[in-house]
């Protein structure tokens, strides 16, 4: 069995285009998993190893996180490469859930950008210890010190550099290791030969100063180091231990640097992963005991205990469905029977593989803390597997609700079949991607987290499943909500031949602060017989599916029944369901309903000279400017803008700023639309209804 203290499950997360995939490629090369280096937008037409999807190769971005593993100086490192675009945040979040540590990559020119802030927030939410790596130190305008300052100011990290670059931009020669106090150079065609030298004379004073700062920061986590510093005898091991303790406590972030593209600093980063990021045994992970009302239980990491594993990613491989799992305790063996905690279904582990991007290696068993893939197991992403001895589920993951939808139509019958296959796969893989058939228009609707998110799925349908579809205009997912309490007292009566229907429902509806829907039964004296109470609940649930204003789902409503009447013969399940629907309709308009729209948090970053026009453009789109952060002729503008106003913004922004600004957006909240917009939406909905 593998020594768990030598296992590292790490993620590589960062802003788009800061070089994640290039860096991963180098890591695989130095750990001898691959024998040649390919670039992301490679001229050799091969593309980087981790960008296994064709679309990723073409666009030069990473969409689905591929998992791979490598060995480095006796340590087994499982790496999840994560996407850089915020539309794919669920991928990042899912990866972080199963990781023990992460490398946060930053561009030495762009610094901490909005996506890095999002990723950092996610890492903090999942308590993932991290190392920061300042990449692209060879680029014109590289300024690692500025980035370190931003890590402190913008991300509130106690960022402590443990290296110092020797030269910058085109003159980047190597790095000074502030712990060893040696200059490190990377020789050979691919930087594979490491040469240690004395620190160049012109950097000695600076290196001393920075080491001093490092010792100050690190000694906060180790009394042994503090004493040694006072006596002037700190050893490399003491410093590394203290940095490790600080990192694991999430109170210190060691900052490393280099250039993946120029093959500088990657081996040291791998040392950093082994030295400062936690082993699975050093991280507390919790499962929910389904037999004890979801009580939190710490998983043991012990390979001898009953097995608990989490399926965190599904992929449609060449040989069927591939399920990536992380084992939290126990051992997963080939031939074992495992149980899906959600469905209760049993499955046999036919094939167990270790993934290396899109190649794989068969293994017999996987110990606790390991990340491996299973073949032919039917499950959804986020499912927990056990060996049947326990009824645990790993804590549920935070899944945002889709905010945008598109109608898609297959061009022919063949595409129709393939589209269904593709949609079935995608919805299993990605919980933020949903699909349904609109009962009124009979159109297939897909919904997700942003334009690009849906765009990528439409492309994948075409490329991977050969499903050509026509795409409609994007639609915003509106909601309706009530703003005040309203009473109802409705009688449903039907006596037209056959058995009659009778049911009276009295009570009120009121806004619910948290949650979508709540049903409260306050009936006393049996005025509505007990067997018909669930019918009332069912009726209300049917009623909230479609609001009376624009037909959008109603959210945040509590339905309380406190009165009613029944008939010994004519009352039935359906009669009370219909009575509840009628009652809801009666109360709804009196409860002053409003239309809610998704509001996005938008961050536009670009040169300060365009600040005015960018703010103007956001303002025109009904945006509320929250604030600006100005630094070194670069400004980040943060605003809250309705999603319905953000279509086509990237084109507008490009023309406004000569392509020099970029933006990210993520869902923030639902808010009522202004009166004028509400009137327009209601008029449109009415027109549509008339046309039907």
């Amino acid at each position: 069995m593998k020594d768990l203290s030598k296992v590292r499950n790490i993620g590589i997360s960062a802003h788009i285009d800061s070089g994640k995939t290039t860096l991963t490629e180098r890591v695989l090369f130095y750990t001898q998993r691959i024998h040649a280096i390919h670039e992301v937008r490679g001229k050799d037409g091969v593309g980087a190893k981790m960008d296994s999807m064709e679309l990723e190769r073409e666009r030069g971005i990473t969409i689905a996180s591929a998992a791979t593993y490598c060995d480095w100086k006796g340590h087994s490192i499982n790496i999840i490469d994560t996407p850089g675009h915020v539309d794919f945040t669920i991928e990042v979040e899912r990866a972080l859930r199963v990781l023990d540590g992460a490398i946060l990559i930053l561009c030495s020119v762009g610094g901490v950008q909005s996506q890095s802030i999002t990723v950092n927030r996610q890492m903090t939410r999942y308590r993932v210890p991290r190392i920061a790596f300042i990449n692209k130190c060879d680029r014109t305008g590289a300024n690692p010190d500025r980035v370190i300052g931003q890590l402190r100011d913008k991300l509130n990290l106690n960022a402590i550099p443990i290296q110092l670059p020797i030269g910058l931009e085109g003159d980047l020669e190597g790095l000074v290791d502030l712990i060893k106090m040696k200059a490190i150079y990377f020789d050979g065609d691919n930087g594979e030969k490491i040469r240690e030298e004395e620190i160049p004379a012109h950097l000695t004073a600076e290196a001393e100063k920075r080491r001093e700062a490092l010792l100050d920061a690190a000694s906060m986590f180790s009394d042994e180091l503090m004493e040694a510093v006072l006596e002037g005898t700190p050893t490399e091991e003491m410093i590394m231990n203290a940095v490790r303790i600080g990192t694991l406590k999430l109170e210190l972030t060691p900052v490393m640097m280099g250039s993946a593209y120029k093959n500088k600093g990657i081996q040291l980063l791998l040392d950093g992963v082994a030295n400062y990021l936690p082993a699975p045994t050093e991280v507390d992970n919790f499962a929910l005991d389904l037999d004890k009302e979801e009580a939190e239980i710490k998983v043991s990491n012990n390979p001898a205990d009953p097995m608990v594993a989490l399926a965190f990613k599904l992929e449609d491989g060449r040989y069927g469905q591939l399920t990536y799992v992380r084992t939290y305790q126990g051992t997963l063996k080939k031939g074992d029977t495992i149980v899906n905690a959600r469905t209760g279904k049993k499955a046999k582990v036919g094939r167990l593989v270790r993934m290396h991007a899109d190649e794989m290696e068969d293994i017999e068993e996987s110990g606790s803390g390991d990340i491996v893939a299973l073949f032919g197991i039917d499950c959804a992403s986020g499912d927990t597997f056990t060996d049947g001895k326990l009824n645990y589920s790993m804590s549920s993951m935070h899944v945002p609700t889709p905010v945008i939808s598109l109608a898609i139509k297959p061009v022919d019958n063949k595409a129709q079949v393939n589209m269904s296959k593709a949609l079935n796969r995608f919805t299993k893989e990605d919980p933020t991607f949903k699909t349904f058939i609109d009962p009124e228009t009979n159109e297939t609707i897909i919904s997700g987290m942003g334009e690009l998110h849906l765009d990528v799925y439409v492309e994948r349908m075409k490329r991977e499943y050969n499903a050509e579809v026509q795409v409609g205009a994007p639609q915003v997912a509106y909601r309706e909500a009530i703003t005040q309490r309203a009473d109802f007292n409705y009688t449903h009566k039907k006596q037209t031949g056959g058995s009659g229907q009778f049911g009276r429902v009295g009570g009120y509806i009121e806004p619910l602060e948290e949650g979508e829907y709540e049903f409260v039964d306050s009936i006393v004296g049996g005025v509505i017989p007990r067997e018909f109470i669930p019918s009332c609940d069912k009726g209300f649930q049917k009623a909230v599916v479609k609001g009376a204003l624009i037909g959008a789902p109603i959210t945040g409503v509590r339905c309380v029944i406190n009165d009613g009447a029944s008939h010994a013969v004519d009352s039935s399940d359906i009669a009370f369901q219909l009575a509840a629907i009628g009652a809801f309709k009666e109360g709804y308009m009196k409860a002053k309903p409003v239309i809610l729209e998704p509001i996005m948090k938008v961050v536009v970053e670009g040169p300060t000279e365009f600040q005015g026009s960018v703010m103007g453009s956001l303002n025109q789109r009904r945006g509320m400017i929250v604030g600006t952060t100005e630094e070194d002729d670069y400004t980040a503008i943060e605003a809250e803008v309705p999603l319905s106003e953000m279509f086509g913004y990237s084109t507008d922004l490009r023309s406004l700023t000569q392509g020099k600004a970029e933006f990210t957006m993520e869902f923030a909240s639902y808010k009522p639309v202004p009166k004028s917009v509400a009137e327009q939406l209601i008029a449109e909905a009415q027109k549509k209804n008339k046309e039907k």
């Binding site: 026009s613 103007g616 509320m624 929250v626 604030g627 100005e630």
Partner: protein
Amino acid sequence: MLKKELIEKNPIRHLNVCTESNVSSRMGLVISRAGLGKTAILVQIALDSLLNGKQVIHVSVGQSLEKTRIWYDDMFKDIAAGCKLDNPYEVYDEIMHNRMIMTFKESKLSRAKLEERMNDLVYQNVIRPSCLVIDGYDLACADQQFLADLKEMGRAMDLQVWFSALSHRDDQRVSNSGVPAPCHEVEDLFDTVIVLQPAPKSECIDLNIVKDTTGVSKCGKVLKLDPITFMIKEGC
């Protein structure tokens, strides 16, 4: 409680930041040692303006946008909870449309830059502020000209400008009217100066209005600051 009542009962009315009788432009200063609540006072001054339907720009030097925003969220929550405001979410949404936060690195702040930014905002119809609060600017390093420039800008734009300044225990210099260093030599540029001091025999902090040339605020220790919530109140 309704918004109107909240405004009327808000103890900050003693500062007369934005009542009808108010002078349209004034330069104010809140000065104290570290940790006594300068930012809290500035945020409450800004919130008072916002509740009165005015627009506010909050300039934060060296602090992140998120942190500044949290100050507003927390203070508003405390105010709303304290007076059981009827419709806190609506009021919050309404006032936040009238506030904008700008964060700068110290070296970047100058009259020209601020004026350019504000003109941009007015031109783009984003915001037309009547109150500008500047928090975190190191007045020990500021030259008199910078402050005079800002005062002039405030006058030209009909703005109330409020600064915070950090004093130090070991610097005992003080002006005739009681304005501590580092602002003792530039006090003539400020119309109103509030010094925060721990109240004797109490855990509260005194808001000592040591100077007011506008005639709208009464000098003396009328107001206190709750050291736990950092809320301004009338007595301890």
